[in-house]
């Protein structure tokens, strides 16, 4: 197949992403024309930008619906590959994007709405590109296309000190992580003589230590995106220093991008004995540390945002265990994708409920700020309750299946010694620790102390956002196959 044809095929498959990219660019440039007019009516601006972003996303969804399920392309040597992973990453992104745009409707920063929605749409376009990439170049470009709009977003939503700190910290560390990634993939290229991921993965079989080093360096770069220990330090500061919607976005979108990139880079069952004897222990140690440090530090927090940041770190640990199971071919990638879907529903649902307080002029930074919320905003409290029960992982919520599948993937492996069993038990005890701090939030909602939660502001977009999350969380428990 010649180059033109392969570009044509890729373009037709990437229609939804192209729609999003064009839409994002248009929305962003709209601000140039907007500036000239005297702006008094903030609300109509709000609705206009949010609606146009929503229309872009819906158009992209329609495009992906019309395109249908792409055939597995036999051509493995192009820049892109369209398989189940590409599709799943697209679906996960659209799910998160829909909820995030609805949440932004009432939480986007007043002066910079065009840039805000433009950057958000470009991130949403970039993650499926990461998911579809079949080449180091497209993988790296996709990842950078996620990062750069993120810097913009973090920079514009808040102009106080914490906001600037968050933006700067994220920018510096993310650039640093990208350097790691580049160094790693340059080793891979040097070793295999090709930037094509299929060729590189076929080269894993020759299993030299150098190969493992390259992979490890690249994984360091990705570990930053998924907030794995020891690359997690930015998370609490960034979560604290940004808007509630972006905190939700930061806990979810980079995770999807990072894990999809990991799946693309390593794949299932490609590692040789030599390479996996280096990489799997590293991943297991990293997963164990990520779970334990995330959960233990979350227990100590009174600040809700910081707690959610550490909880997001802890969930990365569970996901890394699922990823190890994937490498060993005990689980397929759907375990990761289902977990991420459930995570989207519960975490974004939680942030949407908090957004309702913020949009009404209240505070949701400290756990104590939520005291007695149930008696003032029952609908949001029920949404929050479902999200928290799901985060604990109790039945009747999607979070149960998410954890359960990871457990099965980890424990079912009977080939190796009891290491995987111990990892499972470790994860179980981590889930118990996590239940402690989630329960603290949950019981605060229903406490009968004096409540500072504001009354009487109803935001339809936020209500729709957390209703979608709550319904999905409960629905996915009864129909786990649809996750």
């Amino acid at each position: 197949m010649d180059a033109i044809q392969s570009i044509k095929a890729a373009a037709s498959h990437l229609t939804p992403e192209i729609v999003l990219l064009i839409g994002g660019s248009l929305v962003m440039s709209a601000s140039v024309f907007q500036r000239k007019r005297e702006r008094e009516d903030v609300h109509s601006d709000r609705s206009m930008y949010a609606a146009s972003a929503l229309v872009c996303l819906l158009l992209a969804m329609l495009a992906s619906f019309w395109r249908g399920v792409p055939q597995l392309s036999p051509d493995a040597f192009g820049l892109f590959r369209f398989d189940a992973t590409a599709l799943a990453s697209e679906r996960l992104t659209f799910l998160g994007g829909l909820i995030l745009i609805l949440m932004s409707w009432s939480t986007a920063p007043k002066g910079r709405m065009a840039e805000y929605y433009g950057a958000l749409l470009i991130i949403l376009a970039a993650i499926p590109i990461v998911g579809a990439s079949n080449d180091l170049v497209s993988l790296f470009l996709g990842l950078e296309l996620v990062s750069i709009p993120t810097y913009v977003l973090l920079g514009i939503v808040k102009s106080d000190n914490t906001g600037l700190e968050a933006a700067l910290k994220y920018f510096m560390l993310s650039a640093f992580a990208s350097c790691f990634f580049l160094l790693g993939i340059s080793y891979l290229y040097g070793f295999c003589g090709s930037t094509n991921l299929m060729v590189i993965q076929a080269g894993f079989g020759e299993g030299k230590r150098l190969m493992a080093l390259g992979l490890l360096l690249a994984m360091c770069g990705l570990a930053f995106r998924i907030t794995a220990v020891p690359f997690h330090f930015y998370a609490p500061d960034v979560f604290e220093g940004t808007s509630v919607t972006l905190a939700g976005a930061m806990s979810y979108l980079p995770k999807v991008a990072g894990f999809v990139a990991l799946i693309r880079l390593i794949g299932a069952g490609n590692l040789s004995q030599g390479a996996s004897s280096v990489i799997i222990p590293v991943l297991l140690v990293c997963a164990a540390l990520t779970m334990c440090i995330g959960n233990v530090l979350a227990v100590a927090q009174n600040n809700l945002r910081r707690m959610m940041a550490y909880s997001s770190v802890a969930h990365t640990g569970y996901l890394l265990l699922a990823f190890v199971a994937l490498i060993r071919q005990d689980a397929n990638a759907n375990v990761l994708f289902s977990y991420l879907a459930a995570y989207a529903a519960m975490t974004l649902g939680m942030f949407a409920c908090l957004g309702e307080i913020e949009a009404a002029g209240g505070k949701s930074h400290l756990i104590g700020d939520l005291a007695g919320m149930f008696y003032r905003r029952p609908a949001a409290s029920i949404g929050l309750t479902v999200a928290l029960v799901s985060l604990i992982g109790l039945p009747l919520t999607a979070g149960f299946w998410a954890k359960f599948m990871v457990f099965v993937g980890v424990v079912a492996d009977r080939r190796v010694d009891s290491i995987s069993l111990i990892m499972g038990v470790l994860m179980a005890f981590n889930a118990v620790i996590a239940a402690g701090y989630y329960w603290r939030v949950l019981s605060t909602l229903y406490s009968k102390s004096v409540s500072n939660v504001p009354l009487r502001v109803f935001r339809p977009s936020l209500f729709v956002a957390y209703t979608i999350c709550t319904v999905l969380t409960i629905l996915w428990f009864f129909v786990p196959a649809s996750m």
Binding site: A331, F400, S418, A431, V432
Partner: protein
């Protein structure tokens, strides 16, 4: 395909949903809730009758053989995880044998009367309270009717959600919020690691060339064939059995893991506690009887049988001694419940016919007696506020003669008076253990003596003394009233059941004895193999 089984789970759950969504019309919903609980009780009686009439499965190839089943093809769970190279497709299965139908009956009886009493004992958000009670009854029914590991675990975990809300939201004792949190964390600390044990049980058939399955009858068959081959215990097996015992042990409050129990019982409303103590605390025991003993007999008997048995014997004495020192009646009853559960543990860990049969019977008996004691406690607290045994001069017998008679009756039933149900169960569990380890029985007997002691202490300090006229009652409007009809009905019904079982134990045993006997015939040889010196009595009598 038995239709009662799904109804038993769905009726109370649907009723709970209706109550939660009723909103402003909540007052009228109280009667609706009581009605739904009554319907559940009728359904559970119907199930017992059906199980009783169903033909016995004579030559089952495993130790678990449900007599009535509900297993539609559609109940399947497909997970994107592969075990031994095969994608997981688990079929869910519900059913009942004698043991589970007995527990269903217990849940039906205790559940209905708890809802009945709650309808006027709970004055604050009554309908919501009853809705949560119904939801927990539904989940409990689910646990007892599950015939596969997955739905067992699902219901086992799900029962936590309504319970924790009941304890936190309506607790009127010491620090309900902290106790609710402790209850949650303790239970999860057992049950989340337990899921790993359950998964490794579900995937164990892969070792013998079968597909992984969660169905209990199928797993028990595989365990039986595995036992016929070799009883060597791998490290994987011992991990499995200890993880399971951790989960179930915390639920049944085995000795070092019991500290959630007194705080929870002291914090929750006695009405909630009656359901927790009589049914929820049985979940751990039921899990051991249903999952640990039939599915991992070798690992259990080689590694854990004597450890858990000893802990059971110690907890009998420990619980009784602490109960003696406590003054708050809630604490006394909590520790006495702890102590009595020790007998059931002891019976199970004997892994003999008598022991297992006695344990199953005693689970039912103890459920009835404990529920009745906590009901009485709730009635007393309604009349007098918190009940302390510190002052000796109560004289309640002259004020509340009906209540006094029933309190004496249930105290004696709990202490194991011959002719009442507690005696039969405890005797059987002890005679089962006697064939394994006489020392443990000697310790346990000590516990019965102490049990009679604190039982009599309760009776003496509360009921007798002065004529009771000295007590200042003006803070308690109901303080001078004896039992109303609504109050004595549940107690009298349960008292008759206790008397009936005490007088005709064999009629009750007939329901589940084939099942416990079948279980014993599979597991007793393994346990004997693990403890070659056991059955001292049998070998002695053979020598003479």
């Amino acid at each position: 395909m038995n239709i009662l089984i799904p109804l038993l789970v769905l009726v109370p759950f649907a009723a709970a949903l209706v109550i939660f969504s009723s909103g402003a019309r909540a007052k009228a919903m109280v009667a609706f809730g009581v009605l739904a609980a009554f319907l559940t009780l009728l359904l559970s009686i119907g199930l017992v009758v059906q199980v009783h009439q169903a033909p016995l499965i004579e030559n089952a190839s495993g130790s678990i053989a449900p007599r009535v089943e509900f297993a539609p093809e559609a109940l399947r769970i497909a997970l994107p995880v592969s075990v031994g190279g095969q994608a997981i497709q688990w079929r869910l299965l519900f059913g009942a044998d004698g043991i589970s139908s007995l527990m269903v009956l217990l849940t039906g009886i205790v559940g209905f009367f708890t809802v009945w009493l709650a309808s006027y004992q709970i004055t604050n958000r009554t309908a919501t309270y009853i809705g949560l009670l119904l939801a927990s009854i539904s989940m409990l029914m689910g646990v007892f009717l599950a015939m596969d590991l997955l739905s067992f675990y699902l219901f086992f975990e799900a029962v936590l959600i309504p319970l924790i809300l009941l304890i936190q939201g309506w607790g009127n004792g010491e620090a309900p919020a902290a106790s609710a949190r402790r209850f949650l964390l303790f239970t999860l600390a057992g049950s989340i690691p337990m899921v790993i044990g359950l998964i490794s049980l579900a995937t164990s058939p892969v070792r013998y060339g079968h597909e992984s399955t969660v169905s209990l009858p199928a797993l028990s068959e595989i365990a039986a064939t595995a036992m016929a081959g070799s009883t060597a215990v791998t490290s994987h097996d011992s991990w499995t059995v200890w993880l399971l015992l951790l989960g179930f042990g915390i639920k049944l409050a085995i000795l070092p893991l019991h500290t959630w129990l007194p705080t929870t019982y002291a914090a929750a409303h006695p009405n909630t506690t009656s359901l927790v103590a009589s049914v929820v605390a049985k979940l751990g025991l039921y899990g051991i009887l249903r999952i640990v003993i039939p599915l991992t007999p070798a690992a259990l008997s080689y590694e854990a049988q004597m450890v858990i048995g000893t802990l059971g014997a110690i907890v009998i004495v420990y619980g009784a001694m602490i109960a003696l020192t406590k003054d708050n009646l809630r604490h006394v009853l909590a520790y006495s419940s702890l102590s009595h559960v020790g007998f059931i543990t002891l019976g199970m860990m004997s892994m003999t016919k008598e022991g297992l049969g006695g344990a199953a019977l005693q689970m039912f008996n103890h459920g009835l007696i404990t529920a009745a004691m906590f009901w009485i406690l709730s009635m007393l607290e309604e009349r007098r506020g918190p009940i302390s045994l510190a002052s000796e001069d109560r004289g309640m017998a002259s004020q509340y003669p009906k209540l006094a008679v029933l309190l004496v009756f249930f105290t004696l039933a709990g202490a194991g008076l011959p002719g009442l149900n507690g005696f039969v169960g405890e005797l059987l569990t002890m005679s089962g253990m006697m064939r394994v380890c006489g020392t443990l029985v000697a310790i346990a007997v000590l516990g019965t003596v102490l049990g009679a002691w604190y039982g009599l202490k309760i009776v003496q300090r509360l009921l007798f003394g002065s004529n009771g006229q000295t007590v200042d009652l003006h803070n308690h409007p109901k303080g001078a009233m004896d039992l109303t009809q609504r109050e004595w009905l549940p107690l009298v019904v349960v008292a008759f059941l206790c008397l009936y079982i005490g007088l005709f134990p064999m009629r009750t045993m007939k329901l589940f004895q084939p099942d416990t006997d079948r279980l014993a015939t599979w597991v007793e040889p393994v346990s004997k193999q693990a403890h070659p010196k056991m059955d001292v009595l049998a070998s002695n009598s053979g020598a003479q």
